[in-house]
Point group: C2
Chain length 197, copies 2
């Protein structure tokens, strides 16, 4: 029996996540509607509601997935660095993820979920864990290279704010010039490095 004619889809949950990501990349968060999504999945408008409580829940699921991706990238990077930790590499990796997955990044850190919407408990857990990991990663990179009386955690957070700020400027379309962006990011790294001894 061909899939197209079956009453039950069979794998709608995953299909929805997949198609949602595709739609996200094609049209952005604001172009992602449940109705379009349902149509792409070959299913009626309200079918997705049997797999996600509402649109917010779907977006949270997407964000959770994205965190897993970024996590693995960061983790791989931190590991491969080994005893030659390099902040520049960390920043490059992070910026690359953000610029290559702008819509996912918006979901992960943007107001769509965190302010306008309501982050799922699961998303909160995953996100906070990731925040902690990035901070720890950055903290490890600056370990033992800070002036006394300087909290490594705070340095890590401030550094992350710098990187995040850059990401947002690019992602939100404020910085359009890619070359400019690269020069600024290099300077941002220099800024962070200058705080080390």
């Amino acid at each position: 029996m061909p899939k197209a004619e079956r009453y039950h889809h069979g794998d709608l949950h995953d299909t929805l996540l997949q198609e949602a990501n595709a739609l996200l990349n094609e049209q952005g968060v604001e172009g992602l509607s449940l109705r379009k999504l349902a149509e792409r999945a070959g299913v009626s408008r309200t079918a997705p509601y049997h797999h996600f409580r509402d649109k917010n829940a779907l977006l949270c699921a997407l964000a959770t997935q994205a965190f897993a991706e970024l996590d693995s990238i960061i983790e791989r990077q931190l590991e491969s660095a080994g005893d030659h930790p390099d902040i520049q590499d960390f920043v490059i990796e992070y910026l690359e993820f953000a610029t290559e997955n702008p819509e996912q990044y918006e979901l992960m850190f943007g107001r769509t979920i965190w302010k306008s919407g309501t982050p799922t408990d699961e998303l909160k857990r995953v996100a906070y864990r990731s925040f902690r990991r990035y901070a720890e990663g950055l903290g490890a990179l600056v370990q033992g290279r800070l002036p006394a009386a300087t909290d490594p955690l705070r340095v890590a957070q401030a550094s992350w704010a710098t990187i995040h700020g850059l990401c947002r400027l690019v992602i939100d379309g404020v910085y359009v010039d890619r070359k400019d962006m690269q020069a600024v990011s290099q300077q941002a790294v220099a800024l962070i490095m200058a705080a080390l001894k």
Copy 2:
């Protein structure tokens, strides 16, 4: 003849901007609809279209206004600093504006206009002028205190990215804890200062 019964409003343009700002502060960008706005102004749904081409144009007008406000704050701050320029003060002032007018800040620098929407020519002009001013202001603050071969403009941009990143984290609801935020912002300032000699 009482205003309520007049066919022509008389001052709809300004009233719309005013009510839009109020609605913005109460319900956020995503809560601002032209229909609600029209109702608040005591006018029919489509009346606003005689004063703003579409919703995007209205948002751009709001953003333009907000830039004027932030501009005057920054300018006043830079002037009053005189020959005692202090980056910390600059950052505090900037953060204060952003946290006290989060929705305006979102419009000024957020994807709502710059990515999803289409910035008006006027907004572009005003915004780019402001960007330049902030950069120049920050550039002046670091003037003569940079290592050789360091572009003051790049430092200013990277510094601005740091501040902007902090603002976004707070505004978007990622950082909720205000105290945490303050500590991080202090560290951010220290980060920038550390790049100076």
